[in-house]
Subunit: 109 residues, 2 copies
DNA sequence: AATATCTATGAAATACTTTTCATATGAATA
DNA sequence: TATTCATATGAAAAGTATTTCATAGATATT
């Protein structure tokens, strides 16, 4: 039958995809794909200010893309792998065809 | 080995995903999934101003999500189905788990 | 309890996207 | 070729997201 894409009003889809529409959040997701990290570790690794990472993580968490566990005064963030990994794979494939191509003029900057 | 997500610098991914992070563009994609349409048809069907649809289509086209063929003075837009449909499917599945849920507080508005 | 470390948060500033509106372009037709 | 219809486009306005910076809240350590 009709998929949700047809029957829904889409009022919420974009909240989720906004996270993939942002370079920093994609970098965070990518880093967490390799290993779980504290906020400071991420900030150091990505060379980005701590509060910037915190703000980004808060949004990723809202959409269940990441989760954390406490460890002393740290928060160890990890990717919600079971559900996110298949999406990442698709992103990869699409990026190959779409996101660094001659035909996609929008990708230049 | 490492996927593109790991080795790339992601500078362009977000350009593509921005299109999915916008309700109007998702609505256009959804409409085109059902049938190809002219700009005016889309504008009428979605009850949105013509130039708004045009601007949105321009961005979708930049990322190869849609294409068009000329027909008289019309431009008949269609979805780049072969590559986009699998993505839409995944979006559907993810939206079910993420985008209208109790746990996703960000989805409320 | 005072201090240090890690992370979160609020709010203003900045940057970016989308919308709007007026107009331009291009194709068909009278 | 003047007019009409369909679409695109530029630029200002409006809307939204991100960044920045100062500071607050927690937890650990002294």
């Amino acid at each position: 039958m009709n998929s949700a894409l047809v029957t829904n009003n889409f009022s919420t889809y974009h909240v989720f995809f906004r996270n993939l529409a942002n370079p920093l959040k994609i970098r965070i997701i990518s880093a967490l794909k390799e290993k779980e990290s504290s906020v400071n570790d991420l900030a150091y690794e990505l060379n980005v200010e701590q509060s910037k990472v915190s703000h980004a993580l808060a949004l990723l968490k809202k959409c269940n893309i990441v989760k954390y566990k406490k460890k002393g005064k740290e928060r160890i963030y990890s990717l919600n792998k079971k559900t996110i990994i298949p999406l990442l794979k698709l992103i990869d494939e699409h990026s190959k065809s779409f996101c660094n191509c001659k035909s996609c003029k929008g990708c230049e900057k």
